[in-house]
Subunit: 348 residues, 2 copies
DNA sequence: TATTAGCACTCAAATCTTATGAGTGCTAAC
DNA sequence: GTTAGCACTCATAAGATTTGAGTGCTAATA
C-alpha cells in the first residue's frame, strides 16, 4: 500500500517531532500543527493505519508513537529534505597536511567535533606502492628502516642485526633495496621478490635475511587496514542505549579496530560513488548491540578510483539531516584535497 | 590515640571483608571470624571507637561500616601485608622490544590486562639526545626528516620546500644537521644553535629555514611528555562511581593526555626510588571526579637516574595487594630491561 | 464519505504505604 | 571487660494509589 500525501506528511511530522523531543508523539501534538487542520481523532485514525503498515509503533498501549526502523528508513529515503546548499556552511574544516595518516586523523576529529557522535574514517583502499626505503645505522648492531609509501604513509622499523656493519654496507643495502622495491606495491613484496634479491646480493645473505624480516614486518603493518576513530566517548551520551553494560560493550567494540573493520567491510561493495551517503538504521547493522544505533557513512574517492569511507555511529534518533550534510561537506573537501589541491601526495 | 592490636585486627578484617564483598560490614560478620572469639556486641563497641577515630563510617544509621579514606590509608600503610615473594608469579610479562615507545605501550597494556583497571605509563624524564637525523628526498619539493632519539624514539616529519633540491644538497644538509645536532639534547635545540648553523651554511639559508622549521616541530613533538594509557573502558566497570555522566567525565579526563600529565606531575617530587609504590586514595587525588578513585603508581628508574611512572586508576575499593604486587613486578622487569638486558638502547 | 466530539479505557511513571531485615546503641547482668 | 537482650533506625523491596497522556471506538456532523 502506497502512502498518500497526508499519511506522508503525518509520518514526517511524527518522526521530525520525535527526533527533536525524544518522547513518543501523540495525536494531539500532531493535530496542533496548524497547516494540517485536522483533529486529533483524525490523526489517530491515520496513526493507526501507519502503525498497521509498520512505520510507527507504540512503546506501550497508552503512549504516543515512535518510528520503527522501517519508519526511519522511509524518512531518510523519501521524507527528509536535505539542507539547502545555501544553508550549509561551506567553511573549510580541514587544515592542509602532507601525510595521509594525519589528514585522516584530522577528518575523524573534525567530524566528531561537528556532529558529537563517534566517528570512524578508513584510509582509501589504494594500491600502496613504495616511494623509497631508507636504511640507516642506529648503532653498530642496529639498523633503522624507514619506508615511505605513496600518500606519505611512513613506517619505521628497528632491525637488530648480528653482524657489525660499516657505512659502506648500509649504502649498498640501501641501493639494493630501493632498486627492487621502489615503486613496488606492498602486496608484491613477498618471498619470490625477496629470493630474487637474495640471489643478486650474494655474500650478505645472512644479514639480508634479518633486514628482510624487518622490512616485511613494516610492510605488513603498513598494509593493514587503517581505521581512525574519534569521539568514542560520545557513545556514553546516547541515552537510548540505556544499560551501562551495553554501552560499555558498544564502546569496547568501537575501540577494537578488528571489529570496526568488519563493520565497515560489510558496508562496501555498494555503489561506491564519491559523495554517496549510506545510512544503516538499527537492525540493518547486523552487529550485536547496535540495534539501537544508526551508522551513516560517506564514500570519498581518490583520483585513481580508490575509495575510503568516513562515517559516524550514533543513536537511531539522530539528526540525519545535519549528519548527512556534514558528511557531504567533508567528503567534498576530501575529494578536493585528493583531486585538486594535492595536499596529500597521490600516485602522481 | 594509638590503635591497640585488637582494634587493628578488627579494622583489618572490616576492610578486607569490604574489599571482597563491597557491602558494608556488620558486627556479626566480624564476630564470626573464629580466631577472634568476640561477640558482636563487643565488636560493636570497638567499631564505635573506630568510627569515632575516623577510620570507618556508616553509610546510614542502620548499616554496617565501610572504610573512610583514612581507613584505607591506614590499611595500605600498616595492615596490608603484601603477597609473599613466593606467591607472586614472576613470569616474564614483557616481550623485548627495541623502541621505548613500543615498550611502554606494551607495559600499559600488560598492566591493564593483569589488573583490569585503567592504566597509565609515562616515559622516563631522561635527557633526550639526538642519535642522528636522516634527511631524505621524498620528491622534488618534499623532504622527509627522520630524527632518532636515545631510546629509539623516532619522529618523522615531512618538510615541504620551495626550491628544487638534488641529492648533493640533501647530502650536504644531512652532514650539516648531524654535525651540529648529533648528541645534542632536545632542549638545546633552540634559536641560538640554529643561528649558528645558519651562519655556517651560507647560501642555503632560505631552504634551511624551512628545514629547521620542520626539525623544530619534530623536536617539539618528541619533547612532549609521553603518556601511554590502556584499559580506559575499565572505568565503566567501577560501580561505585555510579552516575553515568560522572563516569563519562572521568573517562574523558582519562583520555585527555593534558589532564593526565597534571595528575602525574603532582605525584612526582616524592622519594623517587625505583620500585617505590605510591598510593593516592580518594580525596588525596585532589582532582575533580576522582574522589571515589584510588591511584597506585610505581616509579621505575633508568641507569642515569631518570625515572618514569607506571600506574593504575581504579575504584577506592580495589585489591591493593594485588595491584601493588603487579606494579612491583612490572617495575622490576622494566628496571631489568633498562639496566641489564639493554632491551632498549640507553645512553651507552 | 470523511471528519470530529465525546467518552471509557489503558498503562507508565510518580508518589505513598507498608513490610522486612540487617544492623546499631544502650543497658543491665555476668 | 564482655555479653545477652531489646528497642530503635533506615535502606530496600513490594504493593497500592494517583495522575495524566494517550488511545480506540461510537455516534453525530458537514
Amino acid at each position: 500500500m502506497e502512502l498518500d500525501e497526508r499519511k506522508k506528511t503525518i509520518l514526517k511530522l511524527i518522526i521530525a517531532t520525535y527526533l527533536e523531543t525524544g518522547e513518543p508523539v501523540g495525536s494531539r501534538t500532531i493535530s496542533k500543527f496548524n497547516d494540517l487542520n485536522l483533529s486529533s481523532a483524525t490523526i489517530r485514525n491515520e496513526m493507526a493505519d501507519l502503525e498497521e503498515l509498520g512505520y510507527i509503533v507504540q512503546p506501550h498501549t497508552s503512549a504516543g508513537r515512535i518510528p520503527t526502523d522501517k519508519g526511519y528508513r522511509f524518512y531518510v529515503d523519501n521524507l527528509m529534505e536535505e539542507k539547502e546548499d545555501a544553508e550549509v556552511e561551506k567553511s573549510t574544516l580541514l587544515e592542509r597536511v602532507d601525510r595521509m595518516e594525519l589528514l585522516l586523523k584530522q577528518v575523524a576529529k573534525v567530524l566528531a567535533y561537528n556532529t558529537n557522535y563517534a566517528t570512524l574514517v578508513t584510509a582509501p583502499n589504494y594500491r600502496k606502492t613504495v616511494k623509497f626505503i631508507q636504511l640507516s645505522k642506529v648503532d653498530e648492531q642496529t639498523l633503522l628502516a624507514v619506508i615511505v609509501i605513496e600518500g606519505n604513509l611512513i613506517k619505521n622499523q628497528i632491525i637488530p642485526i648480528d653482524t657489525i656493519l660499516d657505512n659502506e654496507d648500509v649504502l649498498k643495502f640501501n641501493i639494493l633495496l630501493n632498486t627492487f622495491l621502489q615503486g613496488a606495491s606492498l602486496e608484491d613484496i613477498n618471498l619470490e621478490m625477496i629470493n630474487a634479491m637474495k640471489k643478486q646480493s650474494g655474500e650478505y645473505s645472512v644479514i639480508l635475511d634479518q633486514i628482510f624480516q624487518g622490512i616485511i614486518e613494516a610492510v605488513h603493518e603498513a598494509n593493514e587496514l587503517e581505521i581512525y576513530t574519534s569521539g568514542a566517548t560520545n557513545i556514553l551520551k546516547y541515552p537510548e542505549i540505556g544499560d551501562i553494560s551495553r554501552t560499555s560493550e558498544l564502546l569496547e567494540k568501537f575501540e577494537d579496530k578488528e571489529e570496526l573493520s568488519h563493520l565497515i567491510e560489510k558496508k562496501t561493495g555498494n555503489k561506491e560513488e564519491s559523495g554517496d551517503i549510506q545510512v544503516y538504521i538499527g537492525e540493518e547493522n547486523a552487529v550485536q548491540n547496535m540495534e539501537d544505533c544508526s551508522m551513516v557513512t560517506a564514500t570519498y574517492k581518490m583520483p585513481e578510483g580508490a575509495t575510503g569511507t568516513i562515517g559516524i555511529l550514533g543513536p537511531k534518533r539522530m539528526d540525519y539531516k545535519k549528519v548527512v550534510s556534514t558528511l557531504k561537506n567533508l567528503t567534498i573537501e576530501l575529494d578536493d584535497i585528493f583531486n585538486k589541491r594535492k595536499g596529500v601526495n597521490d600516485d602522481g
